[in-house]
């Protein structure tokens, strides 16, 4: 290594470090506030870590708030949405990637069009549609809405993963004796695991943190999801930052676990060696 490349590497690392600091600082602050006792929150000024740590906020959130309900609701909604969207998007993405059919162009255009609307515009019509169906104030209603909004993007995402898998693999499987569906299930699907993991992760986090529709469609605590629940820590006269941050830290846990679980599938390179390249 010469002097320039050492300098280049150092600058490169420094840039990454800066970015990491910028991206992770809010999370750090979240953690810091969640363990700061109430009496120190406003009295100590701006400090990187409180002089005394306490888990009272966590205890309160878990034992005395409706947080466990919000948490369960969010798990159900985000999990179901991620599963349904990924299943449907992998099938439709495969179709868009491999087949030519009448109206394909218009279908893609229509799917793109749905992505262009500001969601706020759709709140009222969706409420009007779901209300007579009894789907307001219900988790099912949220799953339906989230699924509808996430499918177009997830389909494009899955399509791009399928596009990356050589067509010859399926053709080889078909010649070996597989039907189209067998080729999809036994050859293509195992190779698309990184894509499936990425889609699952994307949709899960999108549904987990969605606020607008959850706020509009849900009233009352029984069907509220976690983002809506966070607002209960805001009262007319004060914001209970400690408890809110403690809830936030707890809410991060499933998302982190989820990504920890799927990260090994997210690693690319599974298809290496399929074809020359």
């Amino acid at each position: 290594m010469n002097r320039y490349s050492i300098l280049g590497t150092a600058l490169h690392r420094l840039a990454i470090l800066c970015y990491m600091g910028f991206a992770l600082f809010p999370l750090f602050w979240l953690l810091k506030v969640s363990v700061t006792p109430n009496d120190l929150l406003y009295s100590e000024g701006v400090r990187m870590w409180p002089s005394r740590m306490s888990f009272e906020h966590f205890r309160f959130v878990l034992a005395h708030s409706a947080f466990p309900v919000f948490f369960r609701n969010s798990m159900i909604v985000a999990g179901a949405t991620a599963a349904i969207v990924t299943l449907l998007a992998s099938l439709s993405g495969y179709a868009l990637s491999r087949f030519t059919f009448r109206g394909k162009y218009w279908l893609v255009a229509l799917m793109l069009l749905t992505q262009m609307f500001p969601l706020v515009m759709l709140v009222a019509p969706i409420f009007k549609m779901l209300s007579p169906l009894g789907l307001t104030n219900s988790l099912t209603g949220l799953v339906v809405v989230y699924t509808a909004f996430n499918i177009p993007f997830a389909t494009f995402l899955m399509q791009s993963f399928f596009d990356g898998i050589p067509k010859e693999l399926e053709e080889a499987a078909k010649i070996d004796g597989a039907t189209q569906f067998m080729a999809f299930r036994q050859i293509i699907l195992p190779l698309t695991l990184p894509g499936i993991a990425a889609t699952l992760g994307f949709v899960f986090t999108a549904a987990w943190s969605e606020l607008l529709f959850a706020l509009m469609l849900i009233s009352g605590n029984s069907a509220a999801t976690f983002p809506v629940g966070l607002l209960t820590f805001v009262s007319k006269f004060s914001v209970d930052f400690g408890q809110m941050m403690a809830a936030g830290v707890l809410a991060l846990i499933p998302a982190c676990l989820f990504f920890l679980f799927i990260q090994r599938y997210l690693v690319q390179g599974l298809t290496a060696g399929a074809v020359k390249g």
């Binding site: 010649i175 070996d176 004796g177 039907t179 067998m182 195992p190 298809t271 399929a274 074809v275 020359k276």
Partner: protein
């Protein structure tokens, strides 16, 4: 083993027509090579036989049974792809046995078939490896192994060697030939490499722009190309072409070049006197000799020693003209050389590019 019949097969992609009526009968156990430049329709034809492309018009029969509507899995054929198309998430043994496993063959039978194929292709030490841990040549072997374990009716090869380096290609070429000799399976092999075509084929099918140009044994195509396309495509370095006019004087036939030189022909042709013709001669048949009647002077542009012989790039009346010789004296050739064309090695093509027919009045080799 099976025979394959292709009858007036056409293929359109939308409004683009890529095959314009191909007829071909492939016999049981035959090794047929489809050769032609890219875009000539050879791969499309192979994929239609495999069932990967629909037949727009015409009929494909395997062992006398029409297969147009059959799915690839029901045609009992195997195919080796240019890209190998190995299943990356399966190891070598699983790759090779996939076809048998989904056909629910007995596990002893699968093990025996994989073992046999692995022995034949020297793959035994690699059976537990994934494709990404294999070299190009090994992947190629696995692809072949996957084809032979099932003992299909026919093998289809889609440019299987084009991703390999020159030495490995030569080696695999010999192995494919040996494999065919041992298994005796009907094989259709697509390539754009005419050396592969010449060395492997029982019969070559030369294709151009969706039309079969000539079908015949390798030497037939080399010795008696049916038209200008085949003449120019088969052979390396490629055949030289000169424009000329057909002449008969004093009972002997000749071709008059634009500069007035008369090239003697070995026989008469069924052509009008004065008809425009194209004279063809292979670089290896051109003789370099002292000036004489019918000889031509050509400027030397470039001398390429290949080790085995020497390729001389000449300019003949401003047109490129190649000579291949084994005589190392050519390495020191001056700025110009004199070349003559032995009449028995000349090919004559008429105005439409077809090989001119010799006339019955005069006998000759052509």
């Amino acid at each position: 083993m099976a025979s394959i019949d292709i009858r007036n097969v056409r293929k359109n992609f939308g409004i683009v027509s890529v095959l314009h009526g191909v007829d071909l009968a492939i016999e049981n156990g035959e090794f047929v090579v489809l050769v032609g430049p890219s875009g000539c329709g050879k791969s499309t034809l192979l994929r239609m036989i495999a069932g990967l492309e629909e037949v727009t018009e015409g009929e494909i029969r395997i062992d006398g049974t029409r297969v147009n509507e059959r799915a690839p899995k029901d045609r009992d054929i195997a195919m080796v792809f240019q890209s190998y198309a190995l299943y990356p998430h399966m190891n070598v043994a699983e790759n090779m046995s996939y076809g048998l496993r989904i056909r629910k063959a007995a596990s002893e039978k699968i093990a025996a078939a994989v073992g046999n194929a692995a022995r034949k292709l020297e793959l035994q030490p690699l059976l537990a490896r994934r494709p990404k841990a294999l070299s190009g040549g090994q992947r190629q072997r696995v692809a072949m192994g996957r084809a032979i374990v099932r003992q299909p009716k026919a093998f289809l090869f889609d440019e299987p060697l084009s991703n390999l380096d020159a030495r490995l290609r030569e080696q695999m070429r010999a192995e494919i030939k040996k494999l065919h000799r041992d298994l005796g399976a009907t094989s259709i092999y697509v390539t754009h490499d005419q050396i592969e075509a010449m060395t492997l084929a029982d019969r070559i099918v030369a294709m151009h722009e969706g039309v079969v140009q000539q079908v015949g044994s390798p030497l037939e195509l080399y010795d008696r190309p049916a038209n200008l396309f085949v003449a120019g495509f088969i052979g390396s370095p490629a055949m030289n072409f000169l424009l000329a006019r057909y002449e008969v004087s004093a009972g002997t036939a000749g071709a008059r070049l634009p500069d007035g030189t008369l090239i003697a022909l070995s026989s008469g042709y069924q052509l009008e006197e004065g008809a425009a013709v194209t004279l063809g001669i292979r670089p290896e048949h051109v003789e370099m000799s002292p000036a004489s009647e019918g000889s031509l002077r050509a400027a030397v542009d470039l001398i390429e020693p290949t080790g085995f012989g020497i390729i001389l790039h000449l300019g003949l009346h401003g047109l490129p003209f190649n000579v291949f010789t084994l005589d190392r004296a050519a390495l020191t050739a001056g700025p110009t050389v004199t070349v003559t064309f032995p009449p028995q090695h000349l090919h004559l093509f008429d105005e439409t590019g077809k090989r001119a027919l010799t006339s019955s009045l005069q006998q000759g080799k052509n």
